[in-house]
């Protein structure tokens, strides 16, 4: 027996192995796809939320002409980054 077949053999006869294995793989694929879709969904929602927040802030700025107070323009990480160029 080829070493690569060893995990399959643990599940019984050749036909049973293939059927059981195929079902297991379909389940695994489904789980991976569900996790993947969930990750994309969370990303999409956070991106859309930020876009909407930015747009609302910008629209308010156009109405009033007044920006909110500016955050500090410095951080330690930025100094490190800015050494690059």
């Amino acid at each position: 027996m080829d070493a690569a077949d060893a995990p399959l053999a643990r599940h019984g006869s050749a036909g049973g192995v293939l059927v059981g294995s195929a079902v297991r793989h379909r389940r695994q694929t489904l789980v991976v796809l569900l996790v993947f879709a969930a990750a994309l969904g969370v990303t999409g929602m956070t991106a859309e939320r930020e876009r909407a927040k930015n747009q609302a802030a910008y629209d308010a700025f156009l109405q009033t002409g007044l920006p909110p107070p500016a955050p500090k323009a410095i951080s330690g990480a930025t100094l490190t980054v800015q050494e690059r160029l």
């Binding site: 690569a4 077949d5 399959l8 293939l18 793989h25 694929t29 991976v32 993947f36 990750a39 994309l40 969370v42 990303t43 999409g44 956070t46 991106a47 859309e48 930020e50 876009r51 930015n54 747009q55 802030a57 910008y58 700025f61 156009l62 920006p67 909110p68 107070p69 500016a70 955050p71 500090k72 323009a73 410095i74 951080s75 990480a77 930025t78 100094l79 980054v81 800015q82 050494e83 690059r84 160029l85």
Partner: protein, 347 residues
Amino acid sequence: MIDEVDRRGFAVLGWLLGILLVTGLFSRALGLHWVQEVEWPTDLYALGRLERPLPVDVGIVGSSRSHYGLAPTAVDACLALTAGRATTTVSANRLAASLYASDIVARELFSGERKPRALVVEVAPESLNANHFELDYNVASSAGLGDVSECIGAATFGPPSLSGCARPLFRGVENIAFWLHRPLTEHRHITWMALYAGGGQYCFGTPACEARNADYDLRHQGRWKTRIDRVLPKVRTERFIDYTIEGGLPARHFVALLDRAKAEGVAVHVVNLPVSEVYQAEVPEAAYAEFLRWVPETTASHGGAFLDLNLPEWRVREQYIDPDHLNASGAGKLSARVCAELAGSVR
């Protein structure tokens, strides 16, 4: 002979490839391809997804030099006087951008339905070097799927590297990881600048802006010396190694930018931004001569206007935060100078 185990292996690889590609397309559809490990200097995500009631009047593309040196609020304050109305200037810059990255930013943010009346394009001798020291990063940060084949073609003769060219195929996963990791470096500040000041490092016209500018320059007082110690010794060997312009990806994209703008009726102003005396001394004379020969000629023959501001009167130490980036005072003056050049293009 392909057996069941092989087939499973291929299936896993196929699924992985599919997931990476779908993630990339999804990320691009959401504008998240702009999200990088370093968002500085411009929050391109915020800029890219913002819907404006009126078209942008002036778009600015370039590297950190245009980020520091050209302040959209100063350009607008000046343009409003000549145009007789409020104008909108937006600056979209990439870290270590060559003309390759600048063209892609311009193509995606300042063309088609989003075309401005005028486009200011920062050029510098190193930004057109076919062997640009950050060309791989330029591809990684900016290239889209459609740019991969061109990149691979170029990689067979020289930079970028082939592995760099593959990055846009799989970048979606890293874009999303960086997105979920937010806030990244100085995110809130650069978003604020993107939304309320058109981007750039400095803003003018309000007490909040003036205070920010002063605070920033004060906190970066040590930057001049630090970069003289760390950057200047590497300028010749890193940024001007094997200097050549023609045939390189940056030059090709520079021409593409000019041609696209001309076809769309956008006035292009190509500006050679100033650097300090100490930085200019590190630029090899032969490379600078080639740059000054090629850029004005190419710009004119493709319908653009060239403005050389890297002149001795702009190189005084007091105007710089470090050897090749202007401070708030320098940015205010340079923005007014560029505005004078734009007046004919923005009515």
